[in-house]
Symmetry: D3
Subunit: 161 residues, 6 copies
């Protein structure tokens, strides 16, 4: 059985993430959506618990996708859950640079974990959690960018009605 | 009458901004240079009042350019002032990525607001507020990058004589 | 009256071009879609006459857009038709580099002609004439990428039924 | 059984290609290395037969990789061989732009074919058939870039001893 | 005698830095590895004293490389030590943008200081202090990325054994 | 004595090339501007003899710069003339990708030849031989982009008076 790890901050999960998770779920037997948590992380809007809850709700219709939170090295977590593949979603160019850097670093740390990049639907190719937070932060409507529960959580956080 | 909104942080306004504002003023009947303000903004050097004052002094020779401060969504502000066009200045590549992302997001939020990108003079094509602050922050001379009032404000802030 | 020139090779015109022409037609009093022709051009599929005919059919619903063919320097043609603005459509990053280079060159040649970049709808942001020809060249269906007359012309050229 | 198509020109196959094919062979039950052929292709050094022969020799140690030549649309060939995944190797940034464009185009043409991008080993991340041909074309040693049979074919072509 | 300044934050020094310093030491009579320090710097892990000590240990085998700490404008420090050349290491694309911006700014501030870019070995071309800190911060092994003293300092900082 | 090779096609030499050659002449004892020639080269406007003559005239005021034509591998030519450094001029981003690729390839072929990148003046940072030929090819004025002899040669070639 092939297990794939789809790691990220997911602060918060948006439609592009869900699109990638859906594609990964069709390619692999089991997909673990891994929410990275680190005490030293700054600029994170939602707590690990909140991010996990929002992600769980967003992918609950995908039977072979589980949501877990982890600290430490991504490749160590991959080993711990028996995953031999890391899934990443590609978006814009600047993204790609960083992905390449991370891929080569991860490979140096654990050559047995393969990295697989998937491309989200064109509709989400420019979407990012940063954009979602920027728009929600000034009262903009993000209902076409995130699932309902995330939209609600963003509204609650920013205090717009 | 066509009204165009030229939005930004303008922290502080520099010669590249003034160049774009001048070009926009030639293309549109009226240009509003909109200074974005948000309580949650970090890493901003000057207060909204200071940024507005510096911008006003920098474009006072352009009769059809007004300076205003706004919060909230950029497209909402555009609607509020009757602007059907957003003006943006293009510089380097990384910039472009972000512009494309913002353009598509704004269009998703308000399809009636067009985005128009102008290119600053070659002299300013690599200039940014970040560079200006870095140079001024270590006592460098920024008189060829910003108007006199901004140079003075930066000197006052960083305490160099 | 403001006249804008939208120059290009248009080999052949596709939906992204039409999108930009439509946006330009809303911003300017008159738009000239200028088809560049040069005896020395290689790798062009359609003759200038064919490209002009396809473009005319594609924008005939836009009353203030005219199609013309020109040789020589783009800024000279702009002067000849009284246009003080060049319109360009932005797509991907590599594109942007070239646009910046052309914009700065054109400005060095004729500083009175402003360059304005518009962004096509997200649906067309990755579309190019090269892609259209590649797909059509191997018998792929391009009906969602180009107007019907262009699709027909491509089919006739490549001999697929 | 999952079948993946790894399409390309392979003119000629080099170590980066073999690296990607090896990674794909570990992820999928069967991999078809599809050599694209088109009468209208220019700038191709080797005939389809030569490219196929070189590729076959290069991957003969990978039991679940087959080499085939195809014309027409890549997604049509994928359908014909029962492949539901396209494999692509990512290298440099300019590459990525084009991949994204192709991925979105292929998806528009056949939404049931998924695109999966793999990253070659750092050693090959900047290698390309163009570089190989440039070096070999001026008598440079390419033995660290391509398998022995390809090196020999390049020497035979360029007439260096 | 030609003196070159190799400026940076070096937080902390890694193998890519050492590679560049080694290449610079072969090109110039004397190289000063200048550690930038600024009271206002945030997000710096190590104090200027620690960064200087780690750098000194890392390049002590290079007889014509000295390590110094400086504040203020880089070009002013270059003048103060008699350096007419700035050395920079190039890595990824996003890097390059910023280098170009800094190069043009430095040139505007002091046209007598030349900027020379060197490329690190392919092995380090994607390495950065940010990556090193990210990996070390979650307990990953960085012994193949940094010299032993730096690895030890990172372990001490992050409290992993 | 340090000898540096500044290789290129120089088809034709333009002000950006001369700027880089001037900077290299200040850094190294001797600079060889090496004009690459290859029977198989297409899309070259001027013959090797013409390119050499134009380059010689353009750098004759730089006493330590010689112009030579070469075929074969660039690093072999560097060895032949005793050069241990390759000089390259950096311009735009897409350029950089290719430079990185070439630098790593050259290093793989001859690790004793160092690559040094210099940045041209901002005025020339977007200039290229391609742009020069495009502008001259349609009768545009290139006198601000190339030295007088090159301008004359382009006029003679394109038959404009």
């Amino acid at each position: 059985m092939t297990i794939a790890l789809y790691p990220g901050t997911f602060d918060p999960i948006h439609n592009g993430h869900i699109d990638i998770a859906t594609r990964a779920a069709a390619l692999f037997d089991e997909v673990v959506l891994g929410i990275f948590n680190n005490q030293k992380m700054k600029n994170v809007l939602f707590s690990p618990e909140e991010r996990e809850a929002l992600a769980k709700q967003a992918v609950m219709h995908l039977p072979n996708v589980r949501v877990m939170t982890y600290g430490g090295l991504t490749v160590d977590f991959a080993h711990a859950i028996g995953a031999d593949t890391l899934v990443r979603g590609l978006r814009a160019v600047s993204d790609f640079e960083w992905e390449l850097q991370m891929a080569l670093t991860n490979r140096a740390l654990a050559s047995d974990v393969e990295m697989v990049c998937l491309m989200a639907d064109q509709e989400w190719v420019f979407l990012s959690s940063t954009i979602v937070k920027e728009v929600a932060g000034v009262g903009g409507n993000v209902q076409n960018m995130v699932p309902p529960a995330t939209a609600q959580a963003l509204e609650a956080y920013f205090g717009h009605s």
